[in-house]
């Protein structure tokens, strides 16, 4: 194991430095070497992830009052957070947004992957087309959709009008605005998730399908009995990414709606931004951050477990 790790250095065998490293590594033992290799990322993780989490926790527990330097510790920020209708609104919006984006984009990605699985030239072209939105940064996509969603003159209304539909204010109607963002997100993410499914499909042995065909299984049966179960690990992985995206992506809210109208598109992360930088309520913003970090941690824990189970399933 150590040999393979150090083999990376082989082109520079002649120089003194690698030899010194090798001697050092030999003296450290297996655990020491592992830590040594982890060290660079660990330093950055501590600096930019763990230390900020500790600070946010401290900030969330610190209660400040205007006009005085004195602070006290307590859960007051959390009390105020849960009493804030804007926070519960954002939480609810985020839930609707999660359900609304994850299920359709995964279903779409799966359908696309299965449909474009065979490597023909035409399929390669279609894959590129479907993958294209992924190449755009979310901010840029959102800026484009500003013009797609313009009532009356935007692309969407323009083409809908040729079908006889009237004007719709996609972003200005509180009942529609969140769903417009959902539509944008599905368009943006489906191609990305498709990529994982395509990779997963490559790993499924073809003889399974052949056997199924000989046994007389139809296309739908082959999909539900072979493709879907064997794509389990990919599905679990995509689910984790999709869940994390739901909480960490906010660009489109900033560009398109700023959480409006009447807070209808206020998502958790945007709520935190507003509380911290528009209301300067750092305590409450930190409390909201703690809540969202907790949700993220819980989600990744649960999904990583399922992911591991999926891998075992495939191996057996």
């Amino acid at each position: 194991m150590a040999q393979t790790a150090l083999a990376v250095d082989s082109p520079e065998h002649g120089t003194a430095a690698p030899r010194r490293v090798r001697r050092l590594a030999g003296r450290l033992g297996a655990d020491g070497r592992a830590w040594l290799l982890l060290l660079p990322s660990l330093v950055f993780l501590c600096l930019f992830t763990y230390w900020p989490i500790v600070q946010v926790l401290l900030q969330a527990l610190t209660i400040e009052t205007f006009g005085s330097q004195a602070t006290s510790l307590g859960l007051g920020n959390f009390d105020r957070l849960f009493a804030d209708a804007a926070f519960t609104g954002a939480l609810l919006n985020n839930l609707v947004y999660a359900v609304g984006t994850i299920a359709p984009s995964i279903a779409l990605a799966l359908a696309l992957a299965v449909g474009l699985q065979e490597a023909t030239r035409f399929n390669a072209l279609l894959r590129t087309v479907v993958f294209f939105p992924v190449l755009l940064p979310l901010v840029a996509a959102a800026a484009l959709f500003l013009f797609v969603f313009l009532p009356g003159i935007g692309l969407l209304d323009y083409y809908l009008a040729t079908l006889g539909a009237g004007q719709t204010n996609w972003l200005g109607d509180p009942d529609l605005a969140l769903w417009s963002l959902v539509g944008l997100t599905v368009w943006k993410n489906a191609g990305y998730y498709m990529l994982f499914f395509l990779a997963g499909l490559q790993a499924i042995p073809l003889d399974l399908y052949e056997a199924a065909r000989i046994e007389g299984a139809g296309a739908w049966r082959r999909f539900t009995r072979i493709t879907l179960p064997l794509l389990g690990p990919s599905l679990a992985f995509v689910l984790v990414i999709a869940l994390v995206n739901v909480i960490t992506q906010v660009d489109h809210v900033v560009v398109l709606t700023e959480g409006g109208p009447s807070g209808a598109t206020d998502l958790l992360l945007f709520y935190i931004y507003q509380t911290a930088h528009e209301s300067y309520d750092y305590g409450k913003a930190a409390a909201a951050t703690v809540v969202s970090v907790a949700i993220l941690l819980a989600l990744s824990l649960v999904s990583l477990r399922t992911l591991e189970r999926g891998v075992h399933y495939e191996a057996s």
Partner: protein, 442 residues
């Protein structure tokens, strides 16, 4: 090792710069500036800085582009918190109060007095409407840089088409609603042309509501104390009911939220006959509007009154004496009649410095552009811009409710009660530390 060579590199660069310029050490200062309208303003600001540095060899000023007004506010706060404040910031005029409440900016009076001038004489350079957001709490806190008011833009072709006189635009709410009803076009159940559109995105909507409330005799907020807004009042109720009726009774305005960008696009496309937009959009409209158009005052119900908008220069605390002086020189230069007028002609904002309009090139410009003259004339009816503790959150408390009225989810009265309650909650920490901090029983 790396830092050492970097320092060396910096020193060489500095030595070169000094060698080419003057032998004496330059004062380096940074100015944060936002670009609220279009990209080319940023370029113009860079060239202004080059001109300034050429004229002042003892100062090396750099303009740092910091995004929108809100982002500039954010970055300024971050810089102050980090202990590295910029020497000057072009800040949205209604955010200045909060910096003063938090004790984060320098009063400019000592710098004014050191020049042998007085605060009165200094402020007299600027239009009276701009004084309230720059001079309060007995001190001068900011220097107006570029300002605006909301303005009514009308499509003259549409006016003629329905038999209205474009040179006699609506001046009262009565005329306004009547004109909008004539201008609106319906086919079947669909509206193909709106009578009026208002920008209803956050920030813009609050400003429009301020204009309507003030035109209805209201004050909107307490200009003397940052802990009070007057949302649940007759003047605001009248204004909001008027907005409600435009959308739901007369049906001349969309009953959904339209963004400021969508409003100007619809105006260019002839999909709406009237819009209310900032005077800061004048140049933009002038360049892009194909139809004949006119501008007019925002119509009144009780009186003509609008709030100013735009930005002022302010100086954060914690600067060295040299930097303070250098920043003060820059602030004065940027607001001088010549530069003020130049920037005004370039952007469409009006020049806060009154003397700018005495310059021949400015007189020529006003003669060539009668729409700029209307914007200037409305200034005598302009008032201070709403500013309180927690300005943005207090503004949003109203905006969310107004949006709910426009979309038909709420009635004006209940909306205003909710807005007042939320706004009061946002200002409570300040109110409890000031007006409600009373002597305990002895």
């Amino acid at each position: 090792m790396l830092t050492k060579s970097l320092k060396l590199l910096g020193a060489t660069g500095l030595a070169l710069g000094v060698g080419l310029g003057v032998a004496q050490a330059q004062t380096e200062i940074e100015m944060f500036f936002p670009v609220p309208v279009e990209g080319k303003l940023a370029k113009e600001m860079q060239s202004l800085m080059e001109r300034f540095n050429e004229a002042h060899p003892e100062i090396e000023a750099t303009a740092v582009y910091t995004g929108s007004y809100d982002e500039t506010n954010l970055k300024t706060r971050a810089a102050i918190k980090a202990g590295r404040p910029p020497a000057a910031v072009i800040m949205s005029a209604n955010f200045i109060l909060e910096y003063q409440l938090n004790d984060e900016i320098e009063p400019l009076d000592p710098l004014i007095e050191a020049e042998g001038s007085s605060a009165d004489a200094f402020m007299d350079r600027f239009w009276p409407a701009l004084h309230g957001n720059a001079r309060f709490a007995d001190r001068v806190w900011a220097v107006p840089f570029h300002n605006s008011t909301p303005l009514l833009y009308i499509n003259a072709d549409h006016f003629r088409e329905v038999g209205l006189d474009p040179d006699n635009p609506p001046a009262t709410w009565q005329d306004w609603a009547a004109a909008a009803s004539k201008l609106v076009k319906r086919e079947g159940g669909e509206t193909t042309r709106w009578g009026l559109m208002l920008p209803e995105n956050y920030d813009y909507l609050g400003w429009i509501m301020t204009a309507l409330t003030m035109s209805n005799g209201g004050l909107y907020y307490n200009p003397e104390y940052g802990g009070e807004v007057y949302y649940d009042t007759p003047s605001m109720l009248g204004a909001l009911t008027f907005v409600h009726d435009l959308a739901h009774e007369f049906e001349v305005m969309p009953a959904a939220i339209t963004d400021g960008k969508a409003v100007s696009t619809a105006f260019f496309a002839g999909q709406t006959s009237m819009v209310v937009l900032s005077t800061g959009s004048l140049s933009f409209i002038r360049e892009n509007m194909k139809d004949d158009y006119r501008v007019a005052f925002v119509p009144r119900n009780v009186r003509n009154a609008v709030a100013i908008g735009g930005a002022s220069l302010m100086m954060p605390k914690g600067l060295s004496e040299e930097k303070k002086q250098a920043a003060w020189t820059l602030m004065n230069w940027l607001t001088s009649p010549e530069i003020s007028g130049h920037w005004s002609r370039f952007t469409g904002y009006f020049a806060p410095n009154r003397q700018a309009y005495e310059l021949p090139e400015m007189k020529q410009f006003i003669a060539d552009n009668p729409d700029a003259k209307v914007a200037l004339d409305q200034l005598q009816y302009a008032r201070s811009w709403f500013a309180t503790y927690n300005t943005v959150a207090v503004r949003k408390a109203l905006e969310d409710q107004v949006q709910a009225v426009i979309t038909g989810d709420k009635q004006p009265k209940e909306a205003l009660e909710a807005a007042q309650e939320n706004a009061d909650a946002q200002m409570r920490p300040y109110v409890e530390a000031t007006a409600l901090k009373l002597p305990a029983s002895m």
